[in-house]
Subunit: 110 residues, 2 copies
Amino acid sequence: MGFWNSVSLLNLQDFRPGIRSVAECGDNLVMACMEIVQGREDTGHQHPFEQCGIVVTGKIEMFIGDEHRVLEEMETYFIPAGTVHGWKTSDMPVRLLDVSAKVGIQTGQS
Amino acid sequence: MGFWNSVSLLNLQDFRPGIRSVAECGDNLVMACMEIVQGREDTGHQHPFEQCGIVVTGKIEMFIGDEHRVLEEMETYFIPAGTVHGWKTSDMPVRLLDVSAKVGIQTGQS
C-alpha cells in the first residue's frame, strides 16, 4: 500500500501470455498497472465486479456492451458489473492503470 | 458508464471550495476526475473504504499513515480503509483520477 512511482516506468511481472502487470490488492480494490503487447485480443468476457481504468501509454480498442471505442492516452473506461467487454491492442503495446472491485463485493459472497 | 475523453481536458463541475470534479458512480466503485487549486490542504481524515488514484497533471503532497510523499504526474496512491491520510497542493493546481470503493462495502453498511 502507499505510493507507486510513475506507472510509465514501473517494472512489471509476467501475468498472462502477452500481459505483464503489477498489482496492489486491498480488501475492496485491486489497482493494477498492466501492459499488453501489440496484436492481442480479448473477444469478450464478463465478471460480477466493476472495473475501470485509464490508458497511460499507447492505445487500445475496447467495447463495453454496445459501446465501442479506441482509447488513447489519458482516456478512461468504466465497466459495469456483468457487462460483456473486450479489447484489442494495436501495433504497439498499451499500458493501463486498472482498478477493480474485488469479486463478490456486489453479492456479499467471498 | 463507458468511456471518458482525456482526463486532462474533461470539463469539471464545482464540488467543494477549491475542488472541481466529475464522477462516474457505479454500484461498487466511484471513479472521479478532480482538480484541486493551488495552496489547499487537507490535514487528515479517514473513511471506512479504500481509495486509490493517479496524478494526471501537476503535483500533490500526500500522506497515508506514516508514509509521506510528493506525488508527480503518473504517480499513484493507495489508501487502505481506515487509514488517516491528507494532502497539500503546491503553487499549481493538481488533477487526479481517483477511484474509491463505495462507503459501507467493507462493513456491509449502506
